[in-house]
């Protein structure tokens, strides 16, 4: 219930994959809305696994019908370190360029067969010359063709309002007043939970709970 001031950043430091093969119970609670001086209301969203544990490395995003400002188009990096994608979960706005710097002494072959972005960067080392532009919304599952266990997700959303959960399973959205569909997204879940309506006004929104209905995270061994 304590307000968390931290915003979602691209480097959250958690390299370990979230969750596991075990079935989790997810709950999401809309914790609190704290008024911020600049734009709007800060909304913290709590995501929980099926067993009630905090859902780390999951994402929350809000979609509004109103015109939304584009977010600063900064290039996002998904590195390969120790034969792992870092970070394992990324959420970007449509049109974002993502590059895949290889920090390992070995080559990687990054690919995706996801309909949202079907691409591959054949065996390479170092930083590829051209980043990949994720121009369609949707879930993109990344793999390495020569390291079957490597997996990463990129969630491409048509909204500037999105955040990834921290170790406590909390994602913070900074939303201007308006009506939103709030989506919770669990990577690797076979079925996503439905979005919820949220009206953001001067007042802090009420508590909402999102419950995950299926397992999430990278496939267990």
């Amino acid at each position: 219930m304590n307000p968390c001031p931290a915003r979602w950043t691209k480097t959250d430091g958690g390299r370990k994959p979230v969750g596991g093969a075990r079935a989790l119970r997810w709950s999401l609670s809309l914790l609190a809305a704290v008024a911020l001086p600049a734009a709007g209301v800060v909304v913290d969203v709590q995501l929980k696994a099926q067993d009630g544990a905090p859902a780390k490395d999951a994402a929350v995003y809000a979609v509004t019908k109103a015109a939304a400002p584009a977010r600063a188009r900064r290039e996002v990096l998904i590195e390969q370190i120790g034969k792992q994608f870092v970070p394992q979960v990324s959420i970007v706005q449509t049109g974002t360029s993502v590059n895949f710097p290889n920090r390992d002494p070995i080559r990687h072959h990054v690919y995706s067969f996801s309909p949202a972005k079907n691409f591959e960067i054949k065996l390479y080392s170092g930083v590829p010359a051209n980043p990949v532009v994720f121009d369609k919304p949707g879930e993109v599952v990344l793999g390495c063709n020569i390291h079957d266990h490597m997996i990463a997700w990129v969630l491409v959303v048509d909204s500037p309002y999105f955040a990834k959960t921290d170790a406590a399973g909390v994602a913070r959205l900074d939303l201007p007043a308006g009506d939103y569909d709030v989506h919770a997204w669990f990577p690797g879940a076979t079925k996503q939970v439905p979005p919820r309506k949220l009206s953001v006004g001067a007042q802090a929104p009420g508590v909402l709970t999102f419950s995950a209905t299926s397992r999430y995270g990278p496939p267990g061994k």
């Binding site: 690919y111 995706s112 067969f113 996801s114 079907n118 599952v141 793999g143 390495c144 063709n145 079957d148 266990h149 490597m150 997996i151 690797g188 496939p219």
Partner: protein
Amino acid sequence: MTVPRDASGALERRIVGFFTALLIAVQIGAFLFIRYAIEQTARNNLRVELDVGERVFKRLLEQNTEQLVEATSVLTYDYGFREAVTTKDRDTILSALSNHSSRIKATGMTLIDLSGLVVADTLRGHAAGSAFTFPALLQRAADTRRASAVRVVEGRVYQIVVVPVLAPLPIAWVAMYFVIDDTAAQDLKRITGLDVTFLSLSTQGGASTLHATTLTGPVRSEAEHSLPRLVPAGPDAPAGPATHAIAGEEFEVLASTLDRQPGTTIAATLQRSMREGLKPYDRLQYLLLALGVVSLAASAIGSIRIARRISQPVRELADAARQIGSGTYASVNPATMAQKDEVGELAQAFDTMSRGLAERDRMRDVLGKVASPAVAERLLAERIELGGEDRLVTVLFADLRNFTSLCETLAPGQSLELLNRYLTVISECIDTHEGVIDKYLGDGTMAVFGAPIARPDDARRALLAAMDIARRIRDLGRDLAAQGLPHPDVGVGINTSIAVAGNVGSPSRLNYTVLGDGVNLAARLEGLTKRYQVPIVAGESTRNAVDGVVYRELDRVRVRGKTVPVHIFQPLALSGSLTAREQDLLAKHHAAIDAYRSRRWSAARDIFTLLATHPDYQRLAEIYLGYLDQAEHSPPGEDWDGVFTVYDK
């Protein structure tokens, strides 16, 4: 006492037969027992093999599945394959499936999307767009990333492997089909060493299908009907090796269920032929058979040899005994006597006996030649003792008259031969009447009747022998005369008296004979045959002892060394065989002698004068007429007894 011919060798046959039969029985028993043990062992071995084979079989199936799963997994990781799958172009996908399934020699391959619909199917093209037939496999694959099962698809049994296509999360499912056919069964047989059959049974209709087997020929066609019965009915039904005959061949069968779905059960049966299981023991059986034959032969030869060591000597001894029975002495085979066993001892004893018998027989033979058989018998039968006993005997002396002078013209050899012809005839006559030839005295023969064995008719037989001698010598004489050879007459003296019979001589050399006055008298009477010119002169004791014979009285004589005169007679013939004229002459003769002894000289002279004209009475008449001359010339005194005293020998 005749021995049947086929009895020879019966002992041998019995010994050989017994041992051979015994050995055959033992060997048959042993063979059957070993065969039974072999069969049990083979069956147990087969069952152990089946148990082990079943474990190997199941492990093989697991490994196969594992390999197929791995191979399929690896295949689905193929980048190009994944690319093809994501093209959504059905033909491309189908050809990629065909291509990749052929890489791992799968029979077919199906791509199923994540919603469970078939995207493409190389086995059944029409299945595209419909739901996958085995959704449970998809569910299992979703849970464990892999699933495999044995299923019947369109009448064939397949090992089906379902794995996800990962990119790196599942983007589709792949079902890979591997048909289980005879080739697969053969592969399994190569490793397990067992015949393998795959069957599917419909649990409702009871219909069954044989899908694959390593069995061949008639066994294969019958297996389809008989093997399904051995498949356990339910999961809890007992399963274990069973003995089962298929098309007349015995199999040990172990059934094991591979998959049990509602409606269909798929099972595998492992079979091992009893015949094949017994094959390793065939050599042993042949060996046993060969051993049996060899030992049988050895035993037969051995028992024949042993039997011969008994039966052959026994046969030899029997032959020898028969020969001895018939009077020939065969010596026993020295090899048999050398045998160091009871048979050898028997042969030695038999030989000793045979020699003893031969010795005695030879003795008897020699005795029989030098002495009478009866005497020899007695001598052999009793202990020989010197001394004798008083016996009433009739002694016969036969002598050839003037033999020496008659034979002067002959060579010594010829005269001896002639002598032997005479003596042979005389001996035969004596033998015929069972007299005993006591000894030969030059051209004379002495025979005894009544010793050593006395019989009531001794005197009669002696008399008949004498008459025979007279008759046969007369016949012989006629023959010899015809050949122009000398033919001396024989004279026989015969007398019956008490004599001493016994062995005379020294203990080392002795004769059995009879001694006494009566014996001497017989010799004297023989000498009188010349004077009276008759063939036989018998003493009065003999005449008195033998009836039924007609005698002619010859005289009353006192021989030298005797004071008592004896009447002497000539036996003429058996009573009743004389003609009336002969009887008349005889009566006249006796009447004349009566007249002479009663001093009626003239009456006597008249008759004798009359008789002197008759050849048979001529000599007697002359003698009596001489007596009458002397009596008339100087009449005898009152004490005259009418006896003629013989002074010459």
